[in-house]
Amino acid sequence: MADRPSAWSAYRAVLGARLRAQTAYRGSFAMEVAGNLANSGLEFAEIYVIFHNVRALGGLDLKASLLVFTLSRVGFSLADGMAGSMDEVPRLVRSGTLEVLMLRPLSLLGQIVTADLALRRFGRAVLALGVLAVVLRIVPVPWTPARVALLVATPVAGAALFTALFIVAGAVQFWLVDGAEATNAFTYGGSYAATYSAAVLPLPLRVFFSFVVPAAFVGYLPTLALLGLPGPAGLPAWLGWWVPAAGAAALGLALLAWRAGVRRYTGAGG
């Protein structure tokens, strides 16, 4: 077929429909965006209050700390907008929607990510980017071309890292919602599986992985590199330059975990 549309056009159709559906009810959409913005605004206000009273934290002064926080917020909010719907995996498994997705000639992960691309979540990313612009004006960065490149790369890599975590959290669900596929086979529709309480687990898990494990890479280390500060023992500052590599590696590992999860669901072993 010469003029067969591309796979991208498939995702574009899904995304377009999602966006139209979200903006169809303008009033509620506007309120949601406003609510989200207010929420993120509060987070920034909180940080401001903390650092206004504490002069230095973990060896960084207020300005540097703000940069750490803002960089990580940009990365996180971008990832949340893109891959936040990975939360839905347990529900997709229980309701059987996952199986409907598997009957379509598209990648499973691609479908889940695009199924609920939340415009309102990108509102936070916009706010975080705005704050970043302000912070950069007050932080004395000794600019070089390499540092400019790092500044551009950091939010992207941060988004990749957090996206990887969302994907891993989704993949883990295939183990947590254990037995759902088996019960589905016998109950049809899986209403019984809804009695599992696996949904309580991912939140603390996510919090841990979101804010503890990669935080150094998405905020702290790039800040050290940007400001030319020395790192603490065991965490050399040059690691900050490796942020893009870390993002790519995390994403790669996450995709492997996802594949293993899907294989577990289909019962292919692994």
Binding site: P5, V14, G96, Y188
Partner: protein, 339 residues
């Protein structure tokens, strides 16, 4: 295009498009964990599908029947690449379903009666447009096909209504259109008529019948509705406890288990028991003989002949005929096979 590896291990069925589904010695086990006592958990292996072999010729229509939990859905999931078999081989449209899930998805249309593939908050027209994009159909291909389906399934009046506002019958027609938009070679319908009213069921059957003959589509249907089987399926596969209990046509199944239809007659005035009518058994007597039930085998006699014989002995005011339902036939089959 054809897979070069996976399906050659099968039963040697043709790979030139003559066989739509080829299943050989298919087994699927699930590990079920149960709590035993406070901390210990026992692992138990359950065989949902236990050594099933069958094949469906391209263009054939097969009813896949069995009690809930007999292994129907599990089999369908293995045929469509959702589940990997524990052992045995599956070839659907000549492809290994799990390895070639996406390629297979272009050739198979599936309707799960109890889950939707439509977007709930979008109108049906929009869902069809998205599905066309997902299947990467050029407009010159999908637009005429959509128009045809819209017309034949009578979707026009609710095409722009969000799916969640549709009645079950309307939604089911939408689901069928969605599954057929990419003109699949194999159509899998899992309980398509469940919950529909008589008229909707009938309209859907007429449409499906027409679709199968028009496009040579292969049909695999699971149902609890005897009429679905009668109207849509040339052949039946009955599964029980994961194993095939019967393979053949409906008449053969009914003959084998001796399933009977029941003629219920309401009489104008109470009459003595209508026993001794040829080829019937009197199975019920109500209201002092005002309502009587006569069971008969469709092979031995007809409802008309029985009615004639009854009319010669009493005045009939009203009547109905009850068909043996699938559950009943299957139960009898299980009994006859000594389960």
């Amino acid at each position: 295009m054809a897979d070069t590896r996976a399906d050659t291990a099968g039963t040697g069925g043709g790979r030139d498009g003559q066989v739509a589904v080829e299943v050989h010695d298919l087994v699927r086990e699930f590990e079920v964990r149960r709590s035993v006592g406070r901390l210990r958990r026992a692992r138990e292996v359950v065989r949902a599908v236990d050594g099933v072999s069958f094949s469906i010729a391209a263009g054939g229509s097969v009813g896949y029947i069995g009690a809930n939990g007999a292994g129907k859905s599990t089999t369908i999931k293995m045929l469509t690449g959702i589940l990997t078999p524990t052992s045995g081989t599956v070839a659907t449209c000549g492809l290994d379903p799990v390895r070639h899930r996406r390629r297979l998805a272009r050739r198979v249309g599936v309707v799960f009666g109890q889950r939707s593939q439509l977007w709930w908050d979008l109108p049906l027209a929009e869902s069809l447009r998205i599905l066309a994009a997902i299947h990467r159909l050029p407009p010159a291909v999908w637009r005429p096909r959509r128009d045809e389906l819209v017309e034949r399934l009578e979707l026009t009046e609710f095409l722009t209504t969000p799916v969640r506002q549709l009645s079950l019958g309307q939604r089911m027609r939408g689901e069928v259109a969605a599954a057929l938009l990419h003109s699949p070679a194999l159509l899998v319908l899992d309980e398509p008529t469940v919950g529909l009213d008589v008229l909707s069921k009938e309209r859907l059957r007429i449409f499906l019948r027409e679709e199968l003959t028009r496009n040579g589509t292969t049909l695999l249907l699971t149902t609890h509705d005897m009429d679905d089987v009668e109207r849509l399926c040339e052949r039946l596969l009955v599964v029980d406890h994961g194993q095939l209990a019967y393979q053949g046509n409906l008449a053969g199944l009914v003959a084998r288990v001796g399933a009977q239809r029941v003629l219920v007659v309401d009489l104008a005035e109470p009459a003595p028991p209508l026993d001794g009518i040829p080829d019937t058994t009197l199975v019920g007597l109500e209201a002092g003989g005002l309502r009587q039930r006569l069971a008969f085998s469709p092979e031995a006699t007809t409802a008309a002949a029985v009615l004639n014989a009854v009319s010669s002995r009493a005045r009939v005011r009203d009547l109905s005929v009850t068909e043996p339902d699938i559950e009943e036939v299957v139960r009898r089959l299980y009994l006859s096979s000594g389960r």
